[in-house]
């Protein structure tokens, strides 16, 4: 079966096919979900090796739960964000006290174009500023403004109310604005 044949199929249907032994479903789910899980882990952890470990573990948990997955209870992506965040939080607790300077810069996508370099610099600055936020604020801001989720889904992932999500995001963004305002010039902003 060609890749396209299942590329438009919902995650939970693919997961059911996976549980029934469908190898193509395993491949499509891996290609579709692993990049999202890894990117989210990377934004929460800021470390590629740890993010890869977390992504692999989150996906492994998905494979294992597949036979018992009940469609309609939760979106596969919501469940994965929650598992990824929990695994990342465990990692962060083990390395408390890490200095902001030690957070690795993003390694991906070293572009040759000036615009790409500016994007890379801004993304790196944001990553460093995110790393300085409390975990819950960081998670809420990333889910809302980078992953693009709505408050109800974020509330479900973080197991808090939508109002609490809004509060975390507001506080997180205030801190990000303060941290990034001093770097506007070096990041290509020219105040007139």
């Amino acid at each position: 079966m060609p890749f396209d044949a299942q590329s438009d199929v919902d995650d939970h249907i693919l997961l059911r096919r996976f549980a029934a032994g469908d190898d193509e479903a395993a491949r499509v789910l891996t290609l579709r979900l692993t990049p999202r899980v890894f990117a989210h882990a990377m934004r929460l952890l800021g470390d590629r090796a740890e993010a890869e470990d977390v992504a692999q573990e989150a996906m492994l948990r998905l494979w294992r739960i597949a036979p018992d997955w009940r469609a309609g209870e939760a979106k596969v992506s919501t469940w994965l964000y929650r598992v990824t965040a929990n695994l990342a939080t465990d990692r962060l607790r083990k390395r408390r006290g890490v200095a902001l300077d030690s957070v690795p810069e993003p390694e991906d996508g070293a572009p040759s174009a000036a615009e790409g370099l500016q994007d890379a610099a801004r993304a790196a600055a944001l990553q460093a500023a995110l790393a300085a936020l409390p975990e819950r604020q960081r998670q809420a801001v990333v889910l809302r403004h980078i992953e693009g989720l709505g408050n109800p889904e974020i509330a479900g992932i973080m197991d808090i109310s939508a109002e609490a999500v809004e509060s975390l995001i507001a506080r997180g963004k205030r801190a990000l604005s303060a941290a990034l305002s001093g770097r506007r010039a070096e990041l290509g902003y020219h105040d007139d």
């Binding site: 032994g21 692993t34 890894f38 590629r48 890869e52 692999q56 993003p106 944001l126 980078i146 693009g148």
Partner: protein
């Protein structure tokens, strides 16, 4: 899964940074993708093998009774029991007729033979 329409760039001073982060999304290495797919297939193989290896309820009952030979013995015993039950009803009718005679024969049965002695004594004594 992704909806970036909620916050137009012009209303959010941080949107340039968020936009850059989205465009510079970290990509998983091919090695990670291979490991994840390898895990998937390993879990799948274990799960499917588990389903094949796990016997059903009837199979578990069959094994508890001692397998197919025992099932065959039980079936034979059941059929024999049924045959004996059906045959015994007819046989019992024949036996009853042999012992008690044909229906319609009359029999005199003295239920209290000692009463004859008491009556004879009463008569002789006047």
């Amino acid at each position: 899964m992704t909806d970036h329409r909620q916050h137009p760039p012009e209303t959010d001073p941080l949107e340039d940074f968020f936009g850059a982060a989205r465009r510079m999304a970290p990509e998983p290495s091919p090695a990670l993708m291979a490991r994840v797919l390898e895990d998937a297939r390993a879990v799948q193989a274990t799960s499917v093998r588990g389903r094949v290896a796990r016997p059903g309820l009837l199979a578990q009952l069959r094994e508890a009774l001692g397998g197919w030979p025992a099932i065959g013995g039980l079936a034979t015993a059941g059929v024999m029991g049924l045959a004996i039950g059906i045959g015994a009803a007819t046989g019992l009718g024949d036996l009853t007729a042999a012992l008690l005679g044909q229906p319609g024969d009359a029999y005199l049965v003295d239920l209290m033979p000692e009463l004859d002695f008491d009556i004879a004594m009463d008569l002789s004594e006047g």
